[in-house]
């Protein structure tokens, strides 16, 4: 098993010098919250993760959760770790203080999630879904629902799940078939849901399911879906779990990765209907779900960051210890001394740092929105909405490349499960798929986020990038950065123009359009990081070893990742042409 150390210098650098978190806290006079506090909290999070989650990661991979009767038993050891996790108060981090939360910034929540996900992705999904349930009830639930469920979800005493997908309703939620009926003053839910992460387990004495279902009087399509809270155990008058609700786990999926996370087929209402409580208004469920979607999708981007960091640390450790070959003088060499291994390590290092900058940058927007005036809020929301598909789509796709490189550094040993890096590759593979595939993210970015507002938001970001290019011009010795960023910005502007002129080809170019934006945003934030690191060095402040490495890492990123915008643009310009030219029959012409 490889070790994990939290990249605390990197996290603190991003929080302090890239995002200027302290200035923000001062401006909004957030008492007691600053980057010193985030550093302390992150250090405690690392301690917990290294001591409780790291070893269980392998355990969960080898010994998946299993179903006995209709009960799911999680990997041994997970329950103890979970109890410790809630004893330390981690689920309450960013939740509202009114129900026992700590009310800490989303930025800190993102940084902590990175740690959980680096050390044990399968475990981390359980509290992550709890966060989703908390948000749904806190933002849209009635006072009664909040009183009954919120405090215990926030404390982590109960966990939460999200029930959207059905066999016939995956990317297209309009096809949802699960029924809700209002009988004798109660909503009764019946139907089958699939892919329900942590749908059942024995770690807590209740599980709160959030279920999308259709009422009999519902209009067809997405406008006819309602959201219900369906607890595993109904509450008695004192609010404690009592009678079993009419729901159960039918089976568990056998997955490629994240074995420690039980993925359930859930059946509701096999007998006389599972009792559910309506969240908000009838028929508005999908809207409520989507209000959480930005958060959830960005969360998956952070999962990519977490796994990439872990795989990078593993590869680095291996490369530094593995002896192969000799130099000209006949001395044996470690593989880290070979240029191509260095290239792979730099790909991982710079890619991960760019992802972290983007994930934290986007996550911090939620705090900026919370602190903003009403007029500013909608502008920040537009930024968040624009960034979300990029964080989700680009980070998770890049993750596939980086974890694969980590395995490559190991050579043959990496393909052997024992080395551990194979688990990262398998675990990471789901990230481009769940919470909306990369294709869905790409369509979201081309259509809803670019064509819909005629690229208004895109151009706002171009302005900010141009500002950074101007800032870079002040330091002439760094002109390669400013040149590279200028080129990438031009590529993006041309891509936007092309898209606006060819909206009907949006679907064909979406994937490349998304990637172009990802590399550009990563390059922009790396350029800003470069400036921040350079300023720190000028002030003779901070760790010069770290800061100089940052400068080189930014340079590497521009030379090896940012240049990819050119290829993306070239493919975008090709449009639908060859993509749609074949008839379906022609796809079989090589075999028929």
């Amino acid at each position: 098993m490889s070790n994990y150390q939290h990249p605390y210098k990197e996290a603190n650098f991003v929080i302090r010098h890239l995002l200027h978190f302290d200035q923000f806290c001062e401006a909004y006079s957030w008492d007691e919250i600053n980057s010193d506090l985030t550093a302390v909290v992150l250090a405690e999070a690392e301690k917990f993760a290294v001591n409780y989650l790291l070893e269980l990661n392998r355990q969960g991979d080898l010994q998946a959760a299993y179903l006995q009767g209709d009960k799911v038993f999680e990997t041994p050891g997970f329950a103890r770790a979970y109890q410790q996790f809630i004893a330390q108060g981690w689920p309450s981090l960013s939740a509202t203080e009114a129900y026992g939360g700590q009310g800490l910034p989303n930025l800190l929540s993102v940084a902590c999630n990175e740690i959980w996900q680096s050390t044990n992705l399968a475990f981390s999904l359980c509290p992550l879904l709890g966060q989703g349930a908390i948000t749904a009830i806190a933002e849209h639930g009635s006072e009664a629902l909040k009183q009954q469920f919120l405090a215990k979800l926030i404390s982590g005493e109960w966990t939460g799940t999200m029930n959207l997908t059905e066999a016939g309703a995956g990317s297209d939620l309009a096809a949802i078939n699960t029924r809700a009926e209002y009988i004798d003053g109660e909503y009764k839910i019946s139907g089958q849901k699939i892919f329900i992460t942590w749908g059942d387990h024995q770690m807590t004495d209740n599980i709160i399911h959030l279920v999308l279902a259709r009422l009999p009087d519902a209009p067809v399509g997405v406008k006819g879906i309602s959201l219900f809270v369906v607890p595993k155990f109904l509450l008695d008058a004192q609010g404690n779990p009592a009678a079993e609700n009419d729901l159960r786990c039918l089976s568990l999926e056998h997955k490629m990765g994240i074995h420690g996370s039980p993925t359930c087929v859930m059946s509701y209402g096999d007998k006389d209907g599972a009792i559910g409580y309506l969240v908000g208004e009838k028929h508005h469920g999908l809207g409520y779900m989507f209000s959480m979607m930005n958060h959830a999708r960005q969360g998956v981007g952070v999962q990519g960051l977490g796994i990439s960091e872990r795989a990078y640390q593993a590869a680095l450790e291996y490369a530094g210890g593995r002896v192969q070959g000799r130099d000209k003088a006949g001395n044996s060499m470690r593989i880290i001394e070979f240029a191509d291994v260095r290239r792979m390590l730099m790909m991982m290092k710079s890619g991960t740092e760019a992802m972290r900058a983007l994930c934290y940058y986007a996550g911090f927007k939620a705090d900026q929105k919370a602190a903003a005036t009403e007029q500013q809020k909608s502008a920040i929301q537009a930024q968040i909405s624009f960034l979300t598909p990029i964080v989700k789509g680009w980070c998770t796709e890049l993750t596939q490349e980086l974890v694969s490189l980590a395995m490559q550094v190991y050579g043959g040993a990496g393909y052997i499960e024992e080395a551990g890096v194979a688990q990262h590759v398998r675990d990471a593979r789901i990230l481009t798929i769940y919470e909306g595939t990369t294709g869905i993210q790409a369509l979201d970015l081309t259509h809803r986020k670019t064509l819909f507002d005629k690229a208004l938001q895109a151009r706002q970001i171009f302005k900010e990038i141009q500002q950074t290019i101007d800032d870079l011009a002040v330091l002439d010795q760094r002109c390669y950065l400013s040149r590279a960023l200028t080129d990438a910005l031009n590529d993006a502007q041309e891509a936007v123009t092309w898209l606006l002129e060819n909206p009907d080809q949006g679907g064909s170019v979406a994937a490349n359009y998304l990637q172009l934006w990802g590399y550009l945003m990563g390059g922009w934030l790396m350029a800003k990081s470069h400036l921040a690191a350079w300023q720190q060095l000028q002030l003779d402040a901070g760790d010069s070893d770290y800061l100089n490495a940052k400068l080189v890492t930014c340079k590497f990123y521009t030379q090896h990742f940012l240049v990819r915008t050119q290829a993306c643009l070239a493919s975008i310009r090709a449009g639908s042409d060859a993509i749609m030219a074949l008839s379906e029959q022609q796809f079989f012409s090589h075999v028929n």
């Binding site: 506090l37 917990f48 001591n51 330390q88």
Partner: protein, 249 residues
């Protein structure tokens, strides 16, 4: 009963230690620092005594530069009630630490002082014993179990060849060994609460202690790197090498 517990800021035990190029000491520049693990055990013991109703107040104390306050905040987050920081930029050798602590003991009048048996940076294992001598309090060092019965303390000590249990008259000095307890982690709500707990800063001058240099570090060297092994042809060659090269037999 008031418990005074000492906390030292040291290089994090996970960090690979590097010696400064001029061999004057360990390079602490931009290195991750943490609470000395034996001090963590001391803090834990003090908090457990409070939770058991034996102690009424836990006061954490640390000596050194301003950054020591980070470790004091950790102690507060773990459950200490208040903290005292004796701020000084000077390197403190054990006797100076003991003298400063003796002053704090004089001011605070604790029923018990708990220290780590040693710190992982200098490994001196002196301060607790010196403090006992300076204050005239009985000492129970290398403790793996502490039981307080009113005005007596039963301290089980880890000694060569086994365990020794001694009975001491309160107030006492105890120093912790590894097996005394397993320290907890600070919880998130307690980290937040710790920010509001009192932390008093004092200076060496205020305490009226004159720091003296009793010893001097001549040089600090990294352990010799392990050499590659060789294969020997037979037992005779092995014995010869052990005798003449390694000179161990």
């Amino acid at each position: 009963m008031k418990v005074l517990v000492t906390v030292k800021r040291v290089i994090d035990y996970n960090v690979k230690v590097r010696v400064k190029a001029d061999n004057s000491g360990v390079d602490l520049n931009n290195v991750k620092m943490a609470m000395n693990p034996f001090c963590e055990i001391a803090v834990e013991e003090a908090i457990r005594l409070k939770e058991a109703g034996v102690a009424t107040e836990v006061v954490a104390v640390s000596l050194g530069p301003k950054a020591c306050q980070e470790q004091l905040r950790t102690a507060l987050a773990l459950g200490a009630d208040r903290a005292i920081h004796v701020e000084t930029e000077q390197e403190l050798e054990s006797l100076n630490v003991a003298k400063l602590l003796a002053k704090i003991v004089e001011i605070e009048q604790p029923g018990m002082v708990i220290l780590g048996k040693q710190s992982i940076d200098t490994d001196n294992n002196q301060t607790g014993q010196m403090l006992a001598a300076l204050t005239g309090m009985p000492q129970g060092t290398f403790a793996s179990k502490i039981v307080i019965n009113d005005d007596k303390a039963l301290v089980t000590r880890e000694v060569d060849g086994g365990l020794q249990t001694i009975e001491l008259n309160m107030p006492i000095i105890a120093t912790t060994d590894l097996r005394l307890n397993e320290p907890r982690y600070a919880s998130l709500p307690n980290i937040m609460k710790a920010k509001r707990k009192p932390l008093a800063v004092k200076t060496v001058e205020e305490l009226g202690v004159t720091l003296k240099e009793h010893s001097k570090i001549v040089s600090v060297n990294a352990p010799a790197e392990r050499q590659a092994g060789i294969k020997v042809a037979d037992v005779a060659e092995l014995v010869d090498k052990l005798k003449n090269e390694a000179k161990v037999i």
